[in-house]
Amino acid sequence: MKRVYVNEEWCLGCHLCEYNCAYANSGIDDMVKALKGRQIFPRVHIEGNDGINYAVSCRHCKDPLCVKSCIAGAISINDGVIRIDKNKCVGCLTCVLVCPYGAVAAGPTGVAQKCELCLSNSCGEPACAKGCPNNAIVFEER
């Protein structure tokens, strides 16, 4: 299955992925309209320091702790893709507590959100990988 992979060696820490992600998941067709003057809640985030940076987003684990731990049964795995049913989620953040990658976070409404490989938006492919200027994030089969 194609996943988002990170090549730390090439990450510039430019944070474009975060903005592309927030835009892709905004449902708005203009980036300025979607993001200007707003706090963004991207599903990918850049970590690092001292010249080392890397993007972190959901790994879509084969044996995911978040799915097992969700108290609302709101997280499920289908064809290898882990998704959160935002209608069922009550924002307890147990998934945040168990994700070993720090890849799940509370969204703007307090409900948990994470990377769903841009399958539910109009981007077509993960916006983070598509917009990465240096192939530090790639969407491929490994």
């Binding site: 510039l12 300025v32 003057g37 010249g51 917009g131 192939n135």
Partner: protein, 501 residues
């Protein structure tokens, strides 16, 4: 002393309606032009630092940025141009020699643009390269003058070592040090994939790149940095660098601050010591001396590799080339005055040397006149910008061309011409690790391959139009060229007729 304030050359135009304050511009500008003001909550710019490399423009996700030429101008003066006056101010401020990068930007004539290519009509039909085979392969090196047979009457097929290229283009010399590890990796990988060669320049060959040896030309320059047995043996050809188009007659100087880590090891000089390439080779003061070095290198490589001698295009280039052709060299590389550089004194770059088109035509003619054209192959560089330039160069008599600036552009260079600062935002002309990593060789090499493949297609189309199906048939075929807007003297040197003739 208070320096005279000089109004910045560029202005950063930020469309406040579009800017989302993502701060990508701030993070990507090594010149620290952009800054987010936390109190005002907006991005601000210090334009005095801007070199117009367009990194921010390119990466801005909402296209909110553009860089424009400042319109703060001194009173108009056709003789004392704005830039001339500002150079005076700079020198009065600093007392120093002005430094510049890349090729001569002055409005000298570009002869490529005054030469037009022929096409077949009616009597000599054009060839469709999509339907018929078309050969772009070339072999560089000394060619036999005649057919020779052994005592049994069999053909003697042994010839001097040749450099085989899938198309008549090579990436010209750029040293590791002047450009980054990743830029070198991109060039090496692209050359290998394309079946052409790249050139180490005078900075030695990084140990990681020995695997690309069959597609590598190694350089032996006046500083002899990084030259050793394995270096010569690794290469497909060895180039003796006598001169460079951007700065003929002077040497090079890579400051000690850049001689660190791998660069120090690759150049085989201590960390922190300045890498000074003298203006002359201190052992070469004549063609005979040059011949000694040529044969030393041939001995060292067991006569298996062609030796290239690279010179800058200067006034008496034809005579110089004639000498080189008799020195035992297999290939002569001539670098025109528009050739790029990582750093050169501005006055030298802008005022020394001659256009490559004229140099090429006169050298090719001279070697033919003297009957020694087959002694050598001719490679020309110094601003070959497109497939059309390549075709014109071949028709003027070149065997192949060297491209560097076009290769840099493919890798991301925006020709801001501030390589000498070492803060290349595109990860090319820098050794700062955080900037070097901006050039992912996966991308860099792919873009180089794309560019060359595009050129190859265009070369084939131009050749097909002329009814020529092999690059060898185009070489020196000046009948395929016509000049426009050229004087009789220029046409005479170029050896071409005027359009309409």
């Amino acid at each position: 002393m208070q320096e005279h304030y000089i109004y910045p050359e560029f202005e950063v135009m930020r469309n406040k309606d579009r800017c989302i304050a993502c701060r990508v511009c701030e993070r990507q500008c090594a010149n620290e032009v952009h800054r987010f003001d936390t109190e005002l909550g907006v991005m601000i710019a210090d334009e005095a630092r801007c070199v117009n490399c367009q990194r921010c423009v390119s990466l801005c996700p909402t296209h909110a940025l553009k860089i424009v030429k400042s319109d703060c101008r001194l009173r108009e003066n056709a003789n004392w141009s704005d830039s001339t006056i500002k150079e005076i101010y700079k020198q009065a401020n600093s007392g120093g020699v002005l430094l510049s990068s890349m090729g001569n930007p002055k409005p000298f004539p570009v002869y490529w643009d005054k030469i037009l290519i022929n096409a077949s009509q009616v009597t000599n039909p054009p060839i469709d390269p999509l339907r018929e085979p078309m050969e772009t392969k070339v072999f560089l090196g000394k060619k036999p003058d005649d057919i020779r047979r052994d005592e049994n009457g069999e053909l003697i097929t042994e010839i001097s070592p040749q450099l085989e290229l899938s198309m008549p283009v090579m990436f010209s010399a750029m040293s590791y040090g002047s450009i980054s590890y990743n830029a070198h990796a991109s060039l090496a990988r692209a050359a290998t994939e394309l079946g052409i060669c790249y050139n180490t320049g005078e900075g030695g060959l990084h140990e990681d790149f020995y695997v690309y040896g069959p597609n590598t030309v190694v350089q032996v320059a006046s500083g002899r940095f990084g030259v050793h047995k394995n270096y010569l043996e690794a290469a497909a050809a060895v180039e003796i660098k006598m001169g460079q188009g951007a700065k003929p007659g002077i040497g090079g100087h890579l400051p000690g601050t850049k001689i660190v880590g791998d660069i120090s090891r690759t150049r085989m000089i201590p960390e922190g010591s300045d890498a000074i390439s003298p203006a002359p080779h201190h052992d070469i003061y004549s063609i005979e001396d040059l011949r000694q070095l040529v044969f030393s290198l041939k001995e060292a490589t067991e006569y298996k590799k062609p030796i290239i001698v690279k010179v800058a295009a200067v006034h008496n280039i034809a005579a110089i080339a004639s000498g080189i052709a008799r020195s035992g060299a297999d290939i002569i590389a001539i670098d025109g005055f528009r050739g790029g550089t990582g750093a050169a004194p501005t006055r030298i770059r802008d005022n020394v040397g001659i256009p490559i088109e004229l140099a090429l035509a006169s050298v090719d003619q001279r070697l033919r006149d003297e009957g020694i054209r087959n002694n050598v192959s001719l490679v020309v560089g110094g601003s070959v910008r497109s497939a059309a330039d390549v075709v014109k160069a071949i028709a003027l008599g070149a065997d192949a061309v060297y491209v560097a600036t076009a290769a840099l552009l493919a890798m991301g260079c925006h020709l801001c011409r501030t390589c000498q600062s070492g803060k290349c935002n595109w990860g090319i002309a820098t050794q700062r690790p955080d900037l070097v990593k901006r050039l992912n060789p996966d991308i860099g090499s792919q873009r180089l391959v794309n560019l060359m493949n595009a050129w190859r297609h265009e070369i084939k189309e131009l050749m097909g139009g002329m009814g020529i199906n092999s690059i060898e048939s185009l070489r020196g075929n000046r009948l395929m060229l016509r000049g426009v807007g050229l004087t009789a003297k220029e046409l005479e040197i170029l050896g071409i007729s005027h359009a309409g003739e």
